[in-house]
């Protein structure tokens, strides 16, 4: 292939200052956030003008090159990792935001981060509820394409529940719109929800209209520390009934890691920590406290802003701790029906012992979503083999319990085989054929994130 001609055309379309081919620039685009996969792209094009998306896609068609749309690049499943012949389309510069309070939506370009979106909404005392812990990097385009969840899922669901309308660019470079910026709309098939979670394989999202709501007046926060993990899980089920704003969990290893990394001194209880927020009124806080008092060995209700934030950090750090403490780290993202939470966490504990690996588990337990994060050393073959085996066992157990290998991080390139296993186990093999056919309808030449989530 004539790369020189390709680059010339790209420069022509997107401007010299926006096309990168030198290693120094490309190197940060070779991987996502946590996954060990990496590969150099052919080139990176920064999208500074919305018209350039279509132009670049048309060129990619001409040269039959794979295009990976990239927002924050925080995908932990290899969804933004290039293959041999890949052009990265960096949408981060496209980040204009417009708020319409009366009509209850924010209009944001794909590259805006969720944090930027919320900073804009905050001016009016509104917010966009989905809240992945990666808000500072996660972009509108990325969060839609991963159908991200996050801390406030227990109450507000996932990103998909908040999308009203999308402007997209299709695989042949043509542009179209799905949905409307109103709260209910029947316009034929629900393509928006098909695009949500499609991991960059169906089209490029250019701009989104997202529902927003008024910020809660006051948030009450409470944490219970448990000696016994089963008691912690019981508490989660009981608190869930009170419709909390967030309902999170971090296990013993997560607490220990947070204390170590941030110099905290939170109780290192064997059964972990249950963290809940409620925004109704104080009586709800009291009700949650009563539930916790049954079995928790310590209850903390933050008294000032620092404590309020620090205790949240315990949960946040549990997620990335293995990455800080170990050279290698793989991300778990299982989800099970709530009634199976206890089985799932106990299985994780058994697996830890079986393989002798480090696992810190945290998660949006209120949704049945746990992140067993496994740390290890990829250069130590024996250890790394055990890390991978342990993760495999955990994923398969989640499926066996009626759950799924991914709650919110998607499949990407890391979980492709697992997805097939899951569908097979659930006798859903047929759906993969339908999915592949759908992909063909959108992207007949297979140039959008080729090889992501299935081959």
């Amino acid at each position: 292939m004539d790369n020189k001609l390709l680059i010339e055309k790209l420069i022509d379309a997107a401007g010299k200052e926006n096309v990168f081919t030198d290693n120094e620039h490309l190197i940060i685009y070779q991987r996502g956030s946590i996954d060990p996969l990496k590969h150099m792209p052919l080139a990176v094009v920064k999208i500074t003008d919305e018209k350039n998306i279509s132009r670049v896609i048309k060129i990619a068609n001409e040269f039959n090159i794979n295009i990976i749309a990239r927002g924050g690049g925080s995908s932990p499943t290899g969804a933004v990792v290039p293959d041999d012949n890949t052009l990265i389309m960096d949408l981060r510069p496209l980040n204009k935001i417009n708020v319409s309070i009366e009509d209850g939506y924010v209009e944001a370009y794909a590259g805006a981060t969720l944090q930027e979106v919320n900073e804009e909404c905050k001016k009016y005392n509104f917010f966009f509820p989905p809240d992945p812990s990666s808000v500072s990097v996660s972009t509108v385009g990325g969060a839609i394409n991963e159908n991200s969840g996050g801390m406030r899922c227990a109450r507000y669901g996932v990103v998909k529940d908040w999308i009203l309308k999308l402007d997209v660019v299709l695989a042949d470079g043509s542009e179209t719109t799905f949905g409307e910026a109103i709260y209910k709309n029947r316009g034929g098939f629900n393509i928006i929800d098909l695009i949500a979670g499609s991991e960059g394989t169906l089209c490029i999202v250019k701009k989104a209209w997202l529902k927003i709501i008024a910020m809660p007046k006051k948030i009450y926060r409470i944490a219970g520390f448990y000696d016994n993990i089963n008691d912690a899980m019981d508490a989660i089920l009981a608190i869930r009934k009170l419709n909390p704003l967030i309902l999170e969990f971090s296990d013993y290893y997560g607490i220990v890691a947070a204390n170590k990394i941030r110099g905290f001194s939170y109780p290192e209880t064997r059964g972990g920590m249950v963290l809940a927020d409620t925004d109704f009124d104080e009586s709800y806080l009291e009700d949650i406290k009563k539930i916790m008092e049954k079995n928790a060995s310590k209850i903390i209700i933050p008294e000032n802003k620092d404590e309020f934030n620090n205790i949240f950090e315990v949960r946040r750090i549990a997620f990335t701790a293995p990455g800080i403490l170990f050279p290698g780290f793989i991300d778990g993202d299982v989800v099970v029906p709530l009634s199976k939470l206890k089985d799932m966490i106990n299985f994780v504990y058994k697996t830890r012992e079986k393989y002798g690996v480090y696992i810190a588990t945290c998660g949006h337990a209120g949704d049945g979503n746990l992140h067993p994060q496994i740390g290890g050393n990829p250069d130590d073959h024996e250890n790394w083999r055990n890390v991978l085996l342990a993760m495999d066992d955990i994923n398969i157990e989640a499926v066996r319990l009626g759950g799924s290998i991914s709650g919110e991080h998607g499949i990407g390139r890391i979980k492709k085989d697992l997805l097939l296993k899951q569908l097979k186990y659930k006798k859903q093999d047929e759906t993969i054929i339908i999915m592949k056919n759908l992909k063909k309808m959108f992207d007949p030449k297979n140039i959008l994130n080729r090889g992501n989530f299935f081959d």
Partner: protein, 467 residues
């Protein structure tokens, strides 16, 4: 294709002998749904008991290119549950069981023929409910409401049906029985086929099972009624409530004609000047309900002097029932015997609501047609109920008015259908909507997607897409 005797025998075998209706008198009820759109008496009606039978029948229909329409409650307002061809109707009402309730995991598994009121009666016993609540809930079903992505009274708070379906069992037009989604509250594993099935109006295949998310009943709620002379104030009052960060459980409005049709059931004192009534439900914890209600009363009082709060459960239930019966009640307000009432269903963003309502009113006045308005105003959804003579000229007038209303909605950044779907009633309007927005490509893609599930285009041909 014509169903000859050989094919008929194959279908009878596939469906089970006792599940096939062939006699004219048995088939006549399937000629219509709740809309005014003309249907045809189907060649055959099949009332299957399980998905295997459906799968076998659909395999034959795909093979012989026989048109198929699925039907459950038959309350469609857009002609989507009748056939326009020489085809068969599959009625899923025999599959009417609640299969599993899992309170801890917050889901219920149902067959398509379960009626929503029956489902909620069952769930209420456990302190839970299934939020989607179209006014037709007594007759409409899990299968039908999923296939139309029904909205309803509680959509302002809980959203439309699509937010409540976790997974399905579905038989594609080619007879493949697939399972989509999970029993979990979230998941991301490949394309969301469940989302595609919801709202597809029977054009992709037959839904045979659904995993539905359920919610605990709200702890406590009260109802605030307020009365207005000017439609402008209705919209403004509601906006003010919402801008204060309060999302009501329901927010319904109705005009005087609608009020009159249910006046005897409402049993409340309505001020003389009233042209419009707004009904807002506010929920809360026991402890703070009173304060919250007072707060909303105060906001609304900036727009009208008459505000009536009702906390008594029995009275609230009666009013709710009356509102749900408004459409049927309007039928009694017809002036002539051959008149029909056609429910419109457009939606605009909140900020465009007052202006749109004005334009609709102008169009109505200009055409001298009898129209009453009510709707789920909390989400900008207006139902214009058009009284028309069931004659050629009468229906032509309706069509013209519907088009005017639709264009007003489109001009104000709205849509031609908020919750009733497209069917055959609005397929042309949908086309106009996409054309107006320069996104006809989107419709084209949808057709291609249909072909993935239904290569021979046998499922509900002519619905949604205008040829």
């Amino acid at each position: 294709m014509n169903i000859n005797n050989d094919i008929l025998n194959e279908i009878r075998q596939a469906a089970g002998e006792n599940n096939v209706l062939q006699n004219l008198e048995e088939k006549i009820p399937y000629k219509n749904d709740a809309s005014y759109m003309p249907g045809r008496i189907p060649e055959l009606v099949i009332i299957p008991e399980n998905s295997d039978q459906i799968s076998r029948v659909l395999k034959l229909c795909t093979k012989y290119k026989i048109d198929v329409t699925v039907r459950s409650g038959g309350t469609s307002l857009t002609g989507s549950s009748v056939t326009n061809y020489n085809g068969i109707i599959i009625n899923t009402m025999k599959m009417d069981k609640i299969l599993e309730l899992n309170i801890a995991s917050r889901y219920v598994v149902c067959q398509p023929g379960v009626r929503l009121d029956n489902l909620n009666e069952y769930l209420n016993k456990y302190g839970f409910f299934y939020p989607p609540d179209p006014a037709s809930s007594k007759a409409s079903t899990v299968g039908g409401t999923i296939s139309t992505n029904a909205g309803g009274l509680r959509a302002v708070r809980y959203g439309a049906t699509k937010e409540w379906v976790l997974g399905t069992e579905f038989v594609t037009a080619t007879g493949e029985i697939i399972r989509t989604g999970e029993y979990t509250l979230k998941r991301s594993a490949g394309y969301d086929l469940t989302a595609l099935i919801i709202g597809s109006e029977g054009t992709l295949g037959v839904l045979t099972e659904a995993i539905l998310k359920i919610e605990p009943l709200p702890e406590k709620y009260g109802r605030i009624l307020s009365f207005y002379n000017d439609i402008y104030d209705v919209g403004s009052a509601l906006s003010a409530v919402k801008n204060a960060g309060i999302t009501p459980l329901i927010a319904e409005f109705m005009d005087l004609k609608t009020i009159n049709s249910i006046r005897d059931k409402l049993n409340i004192k309505i001020p003389d000047y009233t042209q419009f009534m707004l009904m807002v439900d506010i929920d809360s914890t026991e402890a703070s309900l009173k304060g919250k209600i007072e707060n909303v009363e105060k906001i609304i009082k900036n727009y009208t002097k008459d505000v009536l709060t009702i906390m008594d459960q029995k009275t609230m239930d009666e009013i709710y029932k009356a509102r749900k019966g408004a459409y049927s009640a309007l039928l009694n307000q017809r002036e002539k015997k051959n008149e029909i009432v056609i429910i419109g269903d457009v939606i605009v963003p909140a900020s465009e609501l007052p202006a749109t309502l004005k334009e609709i009113k102008n169009a109505v006045d200009k055409m001298k047609i009898n129209v009453s308005l009510f709707g789920h105003i909390g989400d900008g959804n207006i139902h214009a109920n058009i009284f028309a003579e069931n004659t050629k000229t009468g229906l032509e007038k309706v069509e013209k008015l519907q088009m005017e209303i639709a264009m007003a909605a489109i001009r104000h950044k709205g849509c031609v259908s908020a919750e009733h779907g497209i069917g055959t009633e609005k397929n042309k309007l949908l086309y106009e909507e996409y054309k107006e927005r320069n996104s006809l490509y989107s419709l084209e893609l949808m057709k291609r997607i249909k072909a993935v599930f239904d290569p021979e285009n046998i499922m509900n041909r002519g619905k949604i897409f205008y040829d």
